[in-house]
């Protein structure tokens, strides 16, 4: 059966390539060393519990221009995993079609398929630090989902906007893990650049988990949640320095009889970067990141309040003619600590505190093949 699927995919791919005006093949891969010191649950001592090399992740994508107004994109997410028999996994990350000029609004696209979810800084995040954007890190929103969206640019480069309807389940779930959820998720995202070097942004995402308040036998569905997620960010660039500040908020409501479990959580990230290229002649960045994420209002054993500090240095090299580096060497040191008073018992006495060092070689390529 797998052979048939592979054959069908190959035929579809060749058909698309044959009709495409141009097709771009691109890839991005992360080769990473991770060392992590945290509390050994058995001995109670702080020990190095992780120390390994891995090709953590890779993206392989095809972008085809089918006509002046229609562009299709297909990206697969490759990852190492010992949870699967072959030691590696593959997931579909994006598979969407962009239609320009479908609506009589300049610079507006209509997008259908498995696509980006524009929430928070997820798609402003260029991974100059190895860690994820806060909305992704604290699992507020999925970075991609099946849906329909309109997105575009404001005149005179004043910013961009996106409005979308999605499944609300993300791109990783499949089969039995895909919840029986008949409610869609709705999102809105606005970015403004009122002045060169100043970006302001806000996002809103309304989502739900599970299908109904009640299960089929009319008992309360304890897993049902209504989520309201919001984000505001500001980014300022002053010569070699840029600073991003992001605020995130989530409000969770459960089924009526479980109102006591309703909670809200919020967090803030401050992310300064110093670009040294104009001083030393090499494309080197020094970065810092401070995060606070407060989920202490929860009534269950999952409640916690996290503080994380990251310091990093990047050496970006092999620049193309656009000045974009094709390779990045990154070193990050992260310290995560949980506030004992505001966290549940499993976090007590620094039991889940963590010191992590990661070094990564990231490389990417992009070629137009016809």
């Amino acid at each position: 059966m797998k052979k048939h699927y592979a054959l069908i995919c190959l035929i579809l791919l060749l058909a698309v390539l044959a009709n495409a005006q141009s097709t771009k093949l691109s890839g991005e891969f992360w080769s990473r060393w991770t060392m992590e010191q945290s509390r050994n649950a058995a001995t109670g001592d702080d020990e190095i519990l992780k120390n390994y090399l891995a090709l953590e992740r890779g993206y392989l994508g095809l972008e085809t221009v089918l006509s002046d107004d229609v562009k299709a994109r297909f990206t697969i997410d490759l990852f190492s995993s010992d949870a699967v028999a072959d030691g590696a996994g593959i997931k579909l990350k994006y598979a969407y079609v962009d239609f320009a000029n479908l609506l009589p609004v300049a610079d507006m696209n209509f997008t259908a398929g498995l696509q980006k979810v524009y929430f928070g800084s997820i798609y402003d995040w260029d991974y100059s630090l190895i860690g994820k954007a806060p909305a992704d890190e604290y699992k507020l929103a999925n970075s991609a989902d099946y849906g329909l969206s309109i997105n575009g640019y404001l005149p005179s480069g004043l910013g961009s906007y996106a409005l979308g309807i999605y499944n609300g389940e993300g791109y990783k779930k499949f089969g039995s893990a895909l919840k029986d959820n008949t409610n869609f998720a709705y999102s809105g995202n606005l970015r403004l650049t009122p002045l060169p070097g100043l970006s302001l942004g806000a996002s809103l995402l309304m989502n739900s988990v599970e299908r109904e308040h009640l299960l089929s036998d009319d008992s309360i569905n304890s897993k049902y949640q209504e989520q309201m997620l919001a984000d505001a960010m500001i980014k300022a660039v002053f010569g070699p320095v840029d600073v991003m500040v992001e605020y995130l908020y989530k409000d969770i409501k459960h089924s009526q009889t479980l109102e006591a479990e309703d909670y809200s959580a919020s967090g803030i990230m401050i992310f300064p970067t110093l670009n040294l290229s104009r001083f030393i002649g090499y494309d080197v960045q020094v970065l810092g990141r401070y995060d606070i994420w407060d989920e202490s209002e929860r009534s269950d054993s999952s409640k916690y309040k996290l503080q994380a500090i990251t310091g990093g240095i990047n050496y970006n090299f092999m620049h193309d003619e656009q000045g974009t580096s094709k390779m990045n060497l990154q070193l990050n040191l992260t310290n995560k600590s949980y506030n004992e008073d505001d966290s549940a018992t499993p976090y007590a006495d620094g039991a889940k505190d963590q010191l992590q060092i990661m070094a990564q070689l990231k490389w990417r390529f992009s070629n137009t093949i016809n």
């Binding site: 005006q21 002046d68 650049t193 060169p196 070097g197 980014k235 660039v237 003619e321 000045g323 974009t324």
Partner: protein, 266 residues
């Protein structure tokens, strides 16, 4: 203290003597203008070095966004998406028109046809119309002559005439405007296109959508395959960059624009 002030003053007086480099990259169409004007400007101001590279308009604009060039050469206007991305990085793109350009449709001198519509041109170049008799001409197969896909002239023609449709596989893709004019001159069924400045009396120039290409119709923008060529800088150009762009827009620079087969701004 006085010693340091004297050293500082001496160094500041020497600054104008230090060679300054202006970097520009981008459109291959603008490339000959940038190269020729850069040479003339450097002859006039030997302390200034201008480095010019091609790559295409998108490459030049991306390099400006990344802060790796002073000037992005572009054969099209910058897009809202590109301005937005640049502003988010603290770059404020400002455009300066440096020349006008018109792509002229030419056929063999013996061809009786006088005019084509944009749609007919698209149909010829995509292989839908294969014989001049389909357009009221002689019963003669059409020989399609085009520029190679790397050229800026092809880029304009592809955008304005073909609307990015694929050129028929039978087309001869030639490397220069002169080669196109020469081939059309010597091939009775041929149709080609070239910059207005390259066309001579050995070929027949066609009216497109009712407009005859001329310096006037290109300058006023009524000819359908006309456009302006731009240079983009980060913020309002100043210092030597303003000097260089002012030189191109001035009488000496515009003469070079004409010498390179393009049309002056006014």
């Amino acid at each position: 203290m006085r010693k340091y002030l004297i050293i500082l003053l001496t160094l500041s007086m020497m600054l104008p003597l230090v060679a300054q480099t202006i970097t520009c990259s981008g459109s291959t169409t603008v490339l000959p203008i940038a190269q020729a004007t850069a040479e003339a400007f450097m002859d006039k101001y030997p302390q200034i070095n201008i480095s010019v590279r091609g790559g295409g308009s998108g490459v030049g604009i991306a390099a400006l966004q990344n802060g790796t060039v002073d000037i992005a050469n572009s054969s099209r206007k910058i897009k809202s998406k590109e301005i937005s991305a640049a502003r988010a990085r603290g770059i404020d793109p400002r455009g300066y028109a440096v020349a006008n350009d018109g792509i002229v449709m030419i056929v063999h001198a013996s061809n009786k046809l006088k005019e084509l519509s944009s749609q007919q041109i698209r149909d010829i170049y995509t292989g839908k119309i294969k014989n001049w008799s389909q357009l009221g001409g002689e019963n003669l197969p059409i020989v399609i002559i085009s520029r190679d896909v790397a050229s800026g002239t092809f880029e304009v023609f592809n955008e304005k005439a073909l609307k990015n449709a694929k050129v028929d596989a039978s087309a001869q893709m030639l490397a220069s405007n002169n080669a196109v004019v020469s081939t059309v001159t010597n091939t009775p069924g041929a149709i080609g296109y070239a910059g207005l400045g390259y066309v001579n009396n050995d070929v027949k120039v066609l009216v497109v959508d009712g407009v005859m290409p001329s310096v006037t119709t290109v300058q006023e923008g009524s000819y359908p395959f006309s456009r302006k060529l731009y240079m983009y800088t980060n913020g309002k150009a100043n210092g030597n960059i303003a000097g260089y762009i002012g030189f191109i827009q001035g009488p000496q620079g515009q003469k070079i624009v004409e010498d390179n087969g393009f049309i002056r701004l006014d």
